[in-house]
Amino acid sequence: MSTDIPEGKETALKLADSDFATDRREHDVKSAVLDYWNRLKAGELGALPALIGLASLFVLFTFLKPDTFLSTGNIANLSTQALPITILAMGLVFVLLVGEIDLSAGVASGLCAALMAKLLVEGGQPWYVAVISAIAAGIIIGTAIGWLVAILRIPSFVVSLAFFLGLQGITLWLIGEGGTVPVRDEVIVALATRNMPIWLGWTLAVACAVGYTATQLLRWQRQHARHLHSKPIELVLIQCGVVAAVLLGATYVLSLDRAASPLIELAGIPWGVPLVGTLLIVCTFILGRTSFGRHIYAVGGNAEAARRAGINVVRIRISVFMIGSGLAAISGILAASRLNSVAVSAGAGNTLLYAVGAAVIGGTSLFGGRGKARDAVFGGLVIATIENGLGLLGTKAYLSFLITGVVLLLAASMDALARRRRSNVGR
């Protein structure tokens, strides 16, 4: 902007005409790349740190453990390891978006899993009744937290810390001191430990790649036809190409036989992966394309502005906690499926911090208003890779804790620095 002081109205109009670019609708590749670079410089990092982190972790662990880390068996193991963290983180993205925190999400996932296991083993209920009850329990917990936070205006930090303790108590009471409940239901166990038939995996992967490309191209075509703001077609095509390559590449690797013994065959995509995929699509749709999602961002960005715009802020606050704890329940079910049991300590310990770390590493801000559902997937993969790689290296427990703590702190510092950068650039 020019710093010259205009002398009169005419000067001002000329200034307005000449000094400011008019609204740009279409980009060519150069201007789009330049815009992206400017956004990066202004602290809009998005998923970039997570992708760089993931790539460097892969290089690091491949270098340190060349035989085991990139083996097909370990890649499959890594993907199931990431499932519970990712789903828990996806729920936390909603909570973080409105600028709140839910410290009880981890133990809520444990409690819901314990409830499910109890219903299966002692109640003799079919799996779907147990699963629906577990998710319902999660939503009830979320409603209670949301109510206390949104209506009584107790800081969410305190409310969820209280729930963190209280819910552990309930889990202990349900399962009994020091006990575990085994989970043997076929369907539940299959989620994280069984694989899809190879043909189904390929069909789903191709369908997703085609569906994604079609959606992106259709949107671009609609924006272009109506002369709206749109990305250059070259970038849209590259984006679609990358997504398709990742989908098909992952499917290829997971479809290789990874059995240790040549006598049996073990291949295919674990059933939990399409579950996360579905949740990712649904959450992305809700956050990006519905007015409910738009209102979540608005409450996180400026709650007062949202209130003045007629948005029911209380309702939004309660609903994000419901979504957060509901997804936590699903995460607990997947964790139970992976371990074939639910222990008293399920969801306690570092579960929650892993999930918060995943969301923040993926690019969701702890200060509210910024983040996407996909952050949980990228961040979840980073955390799972660290956990997996350190496991392979046989790192001592104390070191694992230390390293994970440092990574979480690193992600949070990056978030805080990016935020400072943004407020320096704006205004």
């Binding site: 710093t3 205009p6 400026n302 502005a305």
Partner: protein, 261 residues
């Protein structure tokens, strides 16, 4: 169809007390389509209270509000915006993390079924900005966080103009702005009136007031000291009206002005 110059909002004999404090005394206030009405007064003169009564934030004690000739009661912010009264508050009600289009439609998003109708919102936002000759934004898909103070104010004002609004109330729109940015916003205020809105401009800055206002209403300790055409008064007279409630023949009777204190 209402014509330029028709009174769109007419307030007569408005009284408002907070407990024992009588804040507004028999206030008469009229705004007309196509006209910028400046509302001036010292701190505590009752400007904000008057605006909040019009915006439905404060209930009134007595007095009549007529909107387009019909008596109305404004019993909440929603009732005010349904009538077509939009307020742009001093602390701008914009969400930093949303882009310009998203902010302009916040809380009133257009939808197609379940899905947001982004193309139609983007077109309408662009149209409104073009109608107000706003050229200061690079892209309507820019995040508000990346805008300057003047640009934010512009977006907030354009947001108010988007909604078939008839009365747009601006609370100190230039208070925090630099010279060039003030220029932009004042031009926008003028265009807002020229495109058929009735504009109420609250300001402490006499230069701004004399630059864009058609009429000036001065409040003095909760009373209307004068409601005059801009061309009929000088800077000095308006300052006297603000500080003493009277200026020569203009203003409150000496007795009223004195007893108000």
């Amino acid at each position: 169809m209402a014509e330029t110059g028709d009174p769109v909002l007419r307030i007569t004999g408005l009284n408002k007390s907070f407990g024992a404090v009588h804040v507004l005394h028999n206030v008469d206030f009229t705004v007309r389509l196509g006209e910028v009405m400046a509302l001036v007064g010292d701190n505590g003169a009752g400007k904000s209270t008057l605006i909040k009564c019009i915006a439905g934030i404060h209930p009134t004690d007595s007095g009549q509000i007529e909107f387009e000739g019909r008596p109305v009661t404004i019993d909440g912010p929603r009732a005010a915006s349904e009538l077509g009264i939009e307020v742009v508050y001093q602390d701008l009600a914009l969400a930093d993390n949303l882009d310009i289009v998203q902010n302009m439609f916040l809380g009133r998003e257009r939808r197609k079924g379940l899905v947001l109708d982004e193309p139609s919102m983007e077109e309408a936002a662009r149209e409104t900005l073009a109608r107000l000759s706003v050229r200061t934004v690079k892209s309507v898909r820019q995040q508000v966080a990346s805008l300057s103070g003047g640009q934010r104010q512009t977006v907030a004002i354009a947001k108010a103009a988007l909604w078939e609004s008839k009365v747009v109330i601006l609370d100190e729109p230039t208070a925090a702005l630099g010279v060039a940015q003030t220029r932009q916003v004042l031009d926008l205020v003028r265009r807002l009136a020229d495109t058929g809105h009735a504009v109420v401009l609250i300001s402490h800055n006499m230069n701004d007031v004399f630059e864009v206002a058609d009429r000036i209403t001065a409040l003095y300790l909760g009373r209307v000291a004068a409601d005059v055409a801009r061309t009929e008064v000088t800077h000095g007279q308006v300052v006297e009206l603000i500080t003493a409630g009277r200026s020569g023949d203009l203003g409150l009777a000496p007795q009223t002005a004195a007893e108000s204190i």
